[in-house]
Every structure is written in C-alpha cells, then in structure tokens.
C-alpha cells in the first residue's frame, strides 16, 4: 500500500520511465528502420518529460516576471535545457531519415531483416 502511494505521488516519473522502456523496446525489436527512428524520438521525449517533471514545483507558475507579483515559480533551468534537447533530437531524426531514404535507394527496402538477407545473398 505504501509503495502504491509512493508510485501515485511520483506518477510523472513513472510514466517517463515507462515511456523510456516502451521506446527502447520498440527501437530494439522492430526491424523497420523508420519505426526505429520514431521509437528513438519517444525515448528521447520521455527523458525530457522526466527532466521537466523534476523542475516542476507543485502550484508553481511559468517563470515569466510580471509587474508586482510575488508568486511561486517553477525551476526554469530544466525547461530551457530540454529546449536544446528537442532540437538535438529533431536533428538526429532528420539525419537518420535522410540516411533511410538513401538506404531505400540502394536496397529497395527499409526493413533491416530484408537488408541483412540481401547482403547475405551477395
């Protein structure tokens, strides 16, 4: 029961880890290259969720300074870091996709198992 309450209190973390596991499992088990890329994105996003959830203070407001207001702000650092993280993830995705399109031109497939089959027949 105590464990359950603990889990309920940290449900953002739990979901983040769950998503990380789903992403990694999809990335490692599916042989379709585009699906691997999507799964990589899910994995990255889950870590970003974890980071932002760490920076969240309960009842805090977005860290924008307004005139004459003394309110609780959330930690702005994880958010601004994750901004960079998202850009990095997008650039990796773009590079991976352009590689996939090139691979498709040479092999005629985007399935890793089929690529291995083609290579072994040569």
């Amino acid at each position: 029961m105590e464990l359950l309450i603990k889990i309920l209190h940290n449900y953002y973390y739990m979901v983040a880890i769950l998503l990380f596991i789903i992403g990694m499992h999809t990335m490692l088990t599916h042989s379709n290259l585009i699906k691997k890329v999507i799964a990589m994105n899910i994995m990255d996003t889950s870590v970003f969720l974890l980071f932002v959830a760490i920076g969240y203070t309960y009842g805090g407001e977005a860290p924008i300074v307004r005139e004459g207001s003394e309110v609780l702000y959330v930690n702005p650092l994880p958010g601004s870091l994750m901004l960079t993280g998202i850009v990095v993830a997008v650039s990796i995705t773009a590079y991976a996709l352009s590689l996939i399109v090139k691979i498709y031109r040479y092999y005629g497939t985007v399935d890793y198992d089929e690529i291995c089959l083609i290579r072994s027949q040569e």
Partner: protein, 83 residues
C-alpha cells in the same frame, strides 16, 4: 475542486501518452504510426504546458510535432508505407 480536476486531466493525458506510445509500436501501417506519433507529441506539449514550461511546449509543438512529422511523412513518401 479545480485542483482535483486538473490532476484528473493530467492523469488522463499521461495515460493517453502511454497508449499512443504502445499504439505507435503496434500499428503496422507506417503513415498511421506517424500520425499517432504526432498526436503523442501534441499531448506531450499540453503536458508541458500543465507543468508550467510554456517555451518547451511551444518548441515541442513546432519542432517535435510539426517538423518531425513533416520529415517522417516526406521519408515515407520516398520509401514504402507498410512495415
């Protein structure tokens, strides 16, 4: 009252996030998987707004959902659609 409702909304969004992630893994049609992934990104953007990180939400909506989906669809249109 509003706090409880917000909590319920957050929990629902997170549940939907997990469902989307599993659906992306299971769907065999790549185009549908990409669309589900786009909805995954949008829900993530809402969650970040809930977590008071509006700039991350904005970047996720623009880059993570918009541009990534665009690139994925461009790549699928150049390759094949079935897994």
């Amino acid at each position: 009252m509003t706090e409880i409702l917000t909590e319920i909304l957050n929990a629902l969004l997170l549940t939907f996030l997990v469902i989307c992630a599993i659906a992306v893994a299971q769907i065999r049609d790549m185009l549908s998987a990409v669309i589900v992934f786009a909805s995954f990104g949008l829900i993530m953007a809402i969650i970040w707004q809930q977590l008071s990180a509006p700039d991350v939400a904005m970047v996720e909506a623009a880059l993570g959902t918009g541009v990534t989906t665009l690139l994925l669809i461009a790549a699928i249109s150049k390759t094949r659609r079935a897994e």
